[in-house]
């Protein structure tokens, strides 16, 4: 059921159906500058484990943002009204940091795996294929990203995935061009471009690095769907009408997490809160 008016919107903001908080300690890493970083396994609230075998995480998986399911015949939408306290005066306990006061992504983490080796340049099939999608099962809008769980080496490399597209055609390839040593920081999260004509990913079958990076590390492939793209202005606040995705439905079993945008390679502590509306 939709919000019927501006007054209903105001009421939702004033008395949100759900309010959820998350605080995280973010570690430094020059490789995180100017790209998205996953805070899935960072110290703080909702700590996720590094994935190994392929699984399809849900709202009950450790690391997922806390929320309740929608009532019968209703749906949860992201209400916005969030805030970060990174570097903001008057918020004791949250300070410093090189993380974004800019748009950040809220994703539904639909499938993940890990245990990949950063020091081989042959095709890796360990813990593949990725687990079958249980949400967004058509694959439309589902993207694949490389996620670094333990630092790999600094040698530049491209990452090629072999995947199955939304039409069920396997053997399509996507290449992430990475001429710099930008994958070697823990938490780096970079979407992988798709083959021409493709609109999403159902599964990934294997990956290949173009060069060994020098360190085994631990990295994996995460399939995700963007459900929120939220604007944070200079003082770290942002409102419901400024959210590009403020009306996106959040599926009951969604495994929600945030991706932070690194303005520099610094560390810091951040706190976010999300409001969810049920309508």
């Amino acid at each position: 059921m939709a919000l019927v008016s501006v007054d209903a919107l105001k009421a939702m903001i004033a008395t949100p159906h759900q309010l959820s908080y998350e605080g995280k300690i973010l570690t430094a890493g020059t490789g995180k500058q100017d790209k998205f970083a996953s805070i899935w396994n960072k110290q703080g609230d909702h700590i996720g484990a590094n994935p190994s075998t392929a699984v399809a995480p849900t709202s009950s998986t450790a690391g997922a943002w806390t929320k309740s399911d929608a009532g019968s015949g209703r749906q949860i939408i992201l209400g916005g009204s969030s805030r970060q306290t990174n570097n903001t005066a008057g918020n004791a306990g949250f300070s410093g940091g090189g993380y974004s006061r800019r748009p950040l992504l809220i994703i539904d983490r639909v499938s993940h795996q890990g245990g990949l080796d950063g020091n081989v340049n042959t095709t890796q099939t360990t813990n593949f294929p990725t687990a079958a999608l249980t949400r967004y099962t058509s694959g439309v809008g589902v993207m694949a990203a490389i996620e670094t769980h333990a630092a790999i080496g600094a040698t530049a490399t491209n990452v090629t995935i072999s995947y199955t597209n939304t039409a069920g055609t396997s053997g399509h390839t996507g290449v992430l061009s990475n001429p710099s040593s930008s994958l070697n920081s823990i938490g780096v999260f970079i979407p992988i471009p798709l083959q021409a004509g493709d609109l999403g990913v159902k599964s990934v079958e294997n990956v290949t690095l173009s060069a060994a990076t020098g360190t085994v590390g631990n990295w994996g492939i995460t399939l995700f769907k963007v459900v929120g793209f939220i604007w944070a202005d200079g003082d770290g606040t942002f409102g419901v009408l400024e959210n590009a995705f403020w009306n996106e439905e959040i599926l009951d079993s969604a495994c929600l997490q945030m991706l932070e945008w690194g303005l520099n390679g610094g560390s810091g502590s951040v706190m976010r809160h999300l409001t969810f509306a049920e309508c």
Partner: protein, 281 residues
């Protein structure tokens, strides 16, 4: 087709009421083409049509064609149903600041490639628009697919304006050269200003280079209907909320081939991540 009555109706439709059918797109483009970086020069506009990303890249056009939302490279969206129109509510983007100045979001109405940077006679464009056929607001862009020569020349187009008057001529702009003014690089987009008094384009008959640039390369003509320009701040963030700012909600026509170009502020290339929120009315 119905107008959005007021802000309450907007909220209602944007949350799925009154057949609003809200739809969101998340997309990104990296400055690589088939895993090879596309070098930038500061102060120029670069097409992201062929850039790697999500959705996958578009192809270099050959003969004249009118691309649609189902053409590889176009941002995917669902056409409005029930006689409704589709409107852009919000656009949010992020890049590496201050490398990129902004993103030009447009409906790619018509394109052609395989034009030659050494031919000094008129090169035929032709074709027919299938959207925005009245021409109002349509623009003509030169798009370079393979570098043309390093000799600075000018280029013009002969076109039919929004009133149906053929034989109109764009103002001459620089074309070619090794760097700047405006350069010869692949993926550059160069807008051709219309003849005085004109406000749109129904068709492009041909383009003519003043003299050879020295290298054939491969360039083309793209007719674009602007949707929005999204400026970045110094840190690379951008947000346009069309409900609370002029000029109001841009329409996304059924079948639109939504494409993008990025304005380079420096010589350091940068990816662009973007989000579009749409609603029907």
């Amino acid at each position: 087709m119905a107008a959005i009555a007021d802000l309450s109706d907007y909220v209602n439709r944007a949350t799925g009421g009154n057949s609003g059918t809200p739809e969101n797109i998340f997309w990104y483009k990296q400055p690589y083409i088939a895993a090879t970086i596309d070098t930038w020069a500061a102060g120029l506009m670069y097409s992201m049509w062929k850039y790697d990303g999500f959705p996958g890249p578009g192809a270099t056009p050959t003969t004249v064609a009118a691309p649609t939302s189902s053409t590889a490279g176009a941002m995917p969206f669902t056409d409005p149903g029930g006689g409704r129109q589709k409107w852009l509510m919000t656009a949010g983007m992020i890049t590496v600041g201050p490398n990129a100045g902004g993103v030009f979001l447009y409906d790619r109405l018509l394109h052609i490639g395989s034009l030659d940077g050494t031919v000094t006679t008129a090169q035929t464009v032709g074709g027919s628009l299938t959207r925005h056929t009245g021409g109002a607001g349509n623009q003509i862009w030169i798009e370079i697919y393979t570098a043309v020569g390093t000799t600075n020349r000018t280029i013009t187009a002969s076109y039919t304006n929004q009133s149906g008057t053929s034989g109109r001529t764009t103002q001459a702009v620089l074309f070619g050269a090794s760097a700047g003014n405006p350069g010869n690089d692949a993926n550059l987009m160069i807008q051709l200003p219309l003849q005085a008094g004109d406000t749109g384009v129904q068709a492009v008959a041909s383009v003519t280079i003043s003299a050879t640039t020295g290298t054939a390369g491969n360039f083309g003509v793209t007719v674009a209907s602007p949707i929005a320009f999204i400026p970045f701040d110094d840190n690379g963030g951008a947000m346009r909320n069309f409900a609370t700012g002029m000029p109001g909600l841009p329409e996304i026509e059924s079948g639109a081939c939504i494409a993008s170009a990025v304005y380079a502020m420096t010589t350091t290339e940068a990816p662009v991540y973007g989000a579009l929120g749409m609603v029907e009315a």
